[in-house]
Amino acid sequence: MNRHLISAADLSKQDALLVLDTAEELARVADRPIKKLPTLRGRTVVNLFFEDSTRTRISFEAAAKRLSADVINFAVKGSSVTKGESLKDTALTLEAMGADAVVVRHSASGAPHRLAGWVRGSVINAGDGAHEHPTQALLDAFTIRRRFGRGSGEALDGLRVSIVGDVLHSRVARSNVWLLHLLGAEVALVAPPTLLPIAIDDWPCSVSYDLGAALPKSDVVMMLRIQQERMNAAYFPSVREYSRRYGLDTARLRQLPDEAIVMHPGPMNRGVEIAAEVADSPRSTIVEQVANGVSVRMAVLYLLLGGLEAAQ
């Protein structure tokens, strides 16, 4: 595994399975009376979030603390960034403070990659623009593997995953396409043509515009959030119309095979891409995804920071 985790596409199948298998063991720590391991004692993890986040930041913080690392949360609001400090100067400041890992979220695609060139510690991408969010993809793969009863060492061969909605603005979709394909799943993207990126033909997945046709052929449906904050053009006529054609409601839920599960990376727009009853149904893994996120991020932090510093 590399020293940094910038993109799911950088992972080999062996690396990805190592993360999932490690997470499987670490998940048991959550069931113990003492939910803490001494492994990263004396290491410092900086959460550097240039964009708002609830679950990812808290999840990384919980993961680092369960491994006994010291955590510094760097919120951009109230920091020198609002005075005009550049990413590089911020990075050098963190470097001088001795950060062993920097967990970074930034609105610009590629920011974590740039950061990795400036700091000595490991850089973990917690979402950059519309590019990637690799730990989300890892936790989604972990959740799918668990829900379908597959254990350590097993991949996702033969499972059909449909990723539905705002693919254009979604870093979650991008990371998932690469990772799930790597793990042997068949990935299909379902979205209105306006919400698909150009050059989609190069992605290792199929594309369709018809949710109704895709559902009976899906073991996993992953609903994406409509990212209104990133929409600078009219991608669809109205939210109501989008919801009618691409939202997952109870009627559509019944079109799924019996074993199929419904995922959402959160935060949800209830009533837009996913109906409230679907989000709260037993098929939904949304709460599990959050719990699994801590285990997967513990695995990533351990594998990047737990060993020899020069581990490559």
Binding site: E25, I34, K36, G307, L308, A311, Q312
Partner: protein
């Protein structure tokens, strides 16, 4: 990452319970090619069988019927050994004995000397370890550092009444004040030698081998399973 080689130059005081031969990075059982000298068999299958039977009886005797005993094997090879001991005690006492596994990777004191490695399973029996006599089971006792890590790991799982240690081979060269309560065989070794334990469950056969390390090789002291020493 988990399968990369050692850092160069065996760090003083970090040696471990030699389990596999030098240069053998995986956890599986493929025997490493003999270096310059052929390995010597120090325990054969029948002797391992007898040693385990004796240890089982000693555990029953020392714990007065093994009523509150939980056996925890340290991965990789301590786990099948714990299962075998549990079987034997069950045969004698006529009731099932709880047993499981305790991975110590996250508690090791040499994590930063090697690339991060994958984890072994930790499976504690449902009844837990509080108030029980926990017998830790491992294949080779060497520096004692694995056992120290295991004691730390136990501490986070509960508060046993007592902790004891059973090992198939004690090869000496302790670096910590730790001793075994039950020993299959005391094996005087040189630190240049490597003790390899093979078990049917992990390696396809039962044997304990002693391999002299070629003298041109730097002293790589065990732990070559990539996960424990």
């Amino acid at each position: 990452m988990a399968h990369a080689a050692h850092p160069p130059g065996g760090q003083p005081g970090t040696g471990g319970d030699g389990v596999t031969a030098p240069g053998h990075g995986g956890q599986g059982g493929t025997p490493a090619p003999a270096l310059q000298a052929t390995p010597k068999t120090v325990l054969e299958a029948a002797e391992i069988h007898r040693a385990l039977t004796r240890i089982a009886h000693e555990i029953i005797e020392r714990t007065r019927g093994a009523e509150q005993v939980v056996l925890l094997g340290i991965p990789t090879r301590g786990v099948p050994l714990a299962a075998r001991l549990a079987d034997r005690i069950t045969q004698v006492e006529g009731r099932p004995l709880p047993h499981g596994s305790l991975d110590i990777t996250m508690y090791r004191d040499d994590l930063r000397l090697r690339p991060a490695r994958g984890l072994g399973p930790t499976k504690v029996p449902a009844e837990g370890i509080d108030g029980k006599t926990v017998v830790l089971v491992d294949d080779v006792l060497y520096s004692g550092r694995t056992v120290r890590a295991a004691l730390d790991a136990l501490n986070d799982l509960g508060r046993p009444l007592a902790v004891q240690l059973a090992v198939l081979v004690d090869r000496g060269h302790r670096e910590l004040p730790i001793r075994a309560d039950y020993v299959g065989k005391n094996l005087p070794t040189s630190q240049r030698e490597v003790v390899r334990v093979l078990l049917t469950e992990t390696d396809g056969e039962d044997a304990v081998l002693l391999e002299p390390v070629g003298d041109t090789a730097r002293p790589r002291r065990g732990g070559v399973t990539g996960r424990k020493r």
